[in-house]
């Protein structure tokens, strides 16, 4: 069942990427700019002082978390799509080796980003504005920052069941049916995490395409 769900999901995702590339929203130069904007080079990192360290670490943890997440996704989803059933062998070794580093990196990312991505009165105003525009049937303006915040909080929230479902399974607490529930919880919550990450990338592209949104 899960294998079919994952395959369907990735087929849709591939279709979406194809459509994006075809429509010209996704080009190599744009990707380059995106990476330049989001990456902090070693040189820049050393130069940073004082408050800038916080910024550099924030970006660093964000990048590491994203990179590890993609490695986890590849080692987790690809074997499932091919063979179905459970992870095993080398993909499993890769998956479990990366997982603790991802968790630590994610926790630090949350720690470093949470203040900047907290909801405030502007977000409340945006939501109220959205509601009014809906009533007047006006086209809503996309507030990237608001949606990035939503993205962040959703990711942080879903990551908890995704991680705890696996760690709890390592203790003699749950029996066979409990273990089955835990593994299903892990599977579907990670799929949701993947969707959230895709949405995050989508927002980044929109931001890149239209500087007025920044």
């Amino acid at each position: 069942m899960y294998q079919i769900v994952v395959i369907i999901f990735f087929v849709i995702m591939a279709g979406w990427v194809f459509w994006t590339v075809k429509s010209g929203n996704f080009t190599t130069p744009k990707l380059k700019i995106l990476l330049q904007k989001t990456l902090v080079s070693k040189k820049e990192f050393i130069k940073l002082k004082g408050k800038s360290y916080s910024y550099a670490l924030r970006i660093l943890f964000y990048q590491i978390t994203l990179a590890l997440f993609f490695l986890l996704a590849v080692s987790g989803f690809v074997p499932i799509m091919i063979t179905g059933g459970h992870l095993s062998g080398i993909p499993l070794i890769i998956h479990v080796t990366i997982a603790p580093f991802f968790c630590v990196s994610l926790a630090l990312s949350v720690l470093f980003w949470v203040y900047f991505l907290r909801f405030d009165s502007k977000d409340w105003d945006y939501i109220k504005g959205l509601n009014q525009k809906r009533k007047k049937k006006h086209k809503a303006i996309l507030d990237i920052n608001f949606w990035q915040k939503v993205n962040f909080w959703t990711f942080a929230t879903i990551s908890l069941p995704a991680i705890t479902s696996i760690i709890l399974g390592m203790y003699p607490i749950f029996g066979t049916s409990g273990q089955e529930i835990l593994i299903e919880l892990h599977r579907y919550s990670t799929l949701l995490l993947f969707i959230v990450v895709l949405f995050h990338i989508y927002l980044l592209f929109i931001k890149l395409n239209n500087e007025s949104y920044i």
Partner: protein
């Protein structure tokens, strides 16, 4: 004229109908009336000529189980059962099981035989063993029937011998006789003497049989008595205990439906050869049996005696839904799909399997963790009834005696699951013809091999005699001289094929045929707390775990294989490096848990903190404050 033909056709039709009806007629003992009591078997003995055995008969004849028991029970139907249908091509071979292992110490032969179509086994006739010789050798632990009484398995040269020995009919009593004095070892001795006709009778508590059909000439007449020109040789003779016969010439048999476990154990015993545990009291036995169950509580059957073997995916023609409930999962694991619950039969407890990831149930059979000997760094040798004639008078008690069987070896089965197996390395002489390899007949190789191999087993250990490369080359040379030029002699041993090259050197090659033969085991089942994983993941997932890294000795008479081993993981179709790395990762598992739990606590803490902050804002807004 026409009416006569029609009449004849109708007559033939009615005759056929009556025959079919006669075949399907239920006998008195075929169908239970519902009483759970055991019927008393006070019956007359009937011999092979369908005559009632009377104590004043001269000579006294053995009783026939086929006719005596068959009077009330459908013998033909019973003979289709698992224990009797090995040679029946219509019967399903099922999962590979314990073969009959033919051993010849002098020729360095150890080859698995079976009349069933199990890959890796050979038909006895392929090594020149006739059915008569086969029964003489292995009939000791066979309950008769099948190849023992069907004429299609008899070779022409033994035709007269079969007249003397008689059929080896199904010995119903070997399982069903609960009398303590019923002597299965005596049955085995009688079979070895070719006293097939007398074997079942001789084992009974009220009969003695002396003499040997094997000593009698081919033209011996069983009704005549002694052979005139060989008076020193004793023909088979029967002596009944007169006190056991009542006035109606009836004898009481202590027949039971619930077969005592000891009756099964005569043929199905296994002894672990472990230098650290040498006494019987060091071993516990199967947890089911020790809790009071009978073997037949799970290994059930109907009149057809098609016994449930109890492994997963066992194919059965009938009663499949009931068969499933007699597997490990069928009895112990919940199945809510059944309209009527069938789990928990006989009070089977439901395992909790706390903390065991479900992937284990997809990749392993239940027996992997629960059955057989707890795995050790060196796979242990075992001795079994069928292979080592355990339970017989005069059995060779040497623990090194051939055949050499190893257990448990964790091997991936055809269904993709890993299961514990017993394993034997084949060693035999063969010939290569047109790229196919077939074993050579023992009668052909024995005289040749004897010239070159020195039997120095003066202590009677009955293990391998030393075979070095030089001797093998000499034997291969000698065999080649006695064979047609199209075929090439080879020796198979230790997982390799050995052949001569043009420079008369011994070449070692790998080939599927040289691979060890293995069969899955299910017993003895250990208690839950002695199952793999009961103490944690390290039971299997450590870099020194016997589950992956136990060393299996390569068994061969050849010196080059001495002290050589193979890791059992090679039989699991797994990458040894990947398995080692994965096992090694468990060393860091506690640290991994600490990292992950700390991370989770941090994330959860942040989420809770900001949730409360959000809540504070809401309460402020509710109070009308900005």
């Amino acid at each position: 004229m026409m009416s006569n033909q029609i009449f004849l056709l109708v007559l033939i039709y009615l005759l056929l109908c009556s025959m079919v009806w006669a075949q399907e007629e239920e006998l008195i003992g075929d169908v239970s009336d519902g009483s759970r009591a055991t019927p008393v078997h006070l019956i007359q003995l009937i011999d092979h000529d369908s005559s009632v055995v009377r104590l004043d008969d001269q000579p006294l004849m053995p009783y026939s189980t086929k006719i005596t028991c068959g009077k009330c029970h459908n013998y033909d139907k019973i003979s289709t059962g698992l224990h009797f249908n090995a040679g029946d091509s219509a019967a399903s071979a099922g999962r590979p099981g314990h073969p009959w292992i033919y051993v010849d110490q002098q020729s360095g032969t150890q080859i698995p035989l079976s009349y069933r179509d199990w890959p890796g086994t050979y038909l006895p006739q392929e090594i020149g063993i006739s059915t008569l010789n086969f029964l003489e050798t292995f009939g000791r632990h066979m309950p008769g029937g099948g190849v023992g009484e069907k004429e299609q398995f008899r070779s022409l040269e033994n035709l007269f011998r079969w007249q003397v020995s008689g059929d080896l009919q199904i010995n119903c009593l070997s399982c069903h006789d609960a009398e303590f004095a019923y002597d299965r070892s005596e049955y085995a001795l009688q079979v070895a003497r070719q006293n097939f006709r007398w074997a079942a009778t001789a084992a009974s508590a009220f009969v003695w049989v002396r003499g040997s059909a094997k000593d009698m000439p081919d033209n011996y007449d069983i009704y005549f008595g002694r052979v005139p020109d060989q008076p020193q040789k004793m023909p088979p003779q029967v002596f009944y205990d007169k006190s056991r016969f009542n006035y109606k010439n009836e004898v009481f048999f202590d027949i039971v439906k619930n077969i005592p476990n000891e009756n099964c154990y005569f043929c199905h015993s296994t002894k672990i050869v472990d230098s650290t545990r040498t006494q019987r009291w060091h071993f516990d036995g199967d947890v089911h049996i020790e809790s009071g169950m009978f073997c037949v509580d799970c290994h059930r059957h109907g009149l057809d005696h098609k016994m449930v073997r109890g492994y997963e995916n066992e194919q059965r023609n009938t009663d499949k839904s009931m068969t499933v409930t007699l597997t490990c999962q069928g009895c112990h694991l919940p199945n809510n799909d059944e309209p009527v619950p069938k789990v928990g039969r006989l009070g089977a407890p439901q395992p909790l399997h706390l903390g065991i990831p479900t992937v284990h149930f997809d990749r392993l059979t239940c027996t992997t963790c629960h059955s057989g000997e707890w795995p050790k760094q060196q796979v242990l040798p075992i001795r079994t009834s069928a292979a080592h004639a355990l339970g017989m008078h005069g059995v060779i008690k040497s623990e090194q005696a051939l055949p050499h069987i190893y257990s448990p070896v964790f091997i991936k089965q055809s269904d993709g699951k890993i299961a514990p197996h017993n394993l034997v390395w084949p060693s035999f002489w063969a010939k290569v013809i047109n790229d196919s390899i077939v074993p050579l007949e023992m009668e052909f190789i024995s005289p040749i091999v004897q010239k070159f191999i020195v039997n120095d087993d003066t202590l009677g250990i009955r293990s391998w005699l030393d075979l070095n490369s030089g001797v093998i080359i000499k034997i291969l040379d000698s065999l080649a001289l006695n064979m047609s030029s199209e075929s090439e002699p080879v020796y198979i041993s230790g997982g390799f094929i050995y052949r001569r090259d043009d420079d008369n050197h011994l070449l070692q090659e790998t080939h599927k045929i040289a691979q060890p033969y293995s069969w899955a085991i299910a017993h003895d089942v250990r208690p839950a707390r002695q199952s793999l994983g009961a103490r944690g993941c390290d039971d299997c997932h450590s870099t020194s775990s016997p589950f992956y890294f136990a060393q299996l000795g390569i068994d061969s008479p050849m010196g080059i294989h001495k002290n050589k081993t193979r890791a059992v993981i090679e039989f699991q179709e797994k990458n040894i490096i990947a398995a080692w790395v994965f096992s090694f990762s468990f060393f860091f598992r506690p640290l991994l848990k600490v990292f992950i739990i700390s991370s989770c606590l941090l994330i959860a803490g942040v989420l809770i903190l900001y949730s409360f902050k959000g809540l504070a804002k809401i309460t402020q807004a509710a109070a009308g404050k900005k």
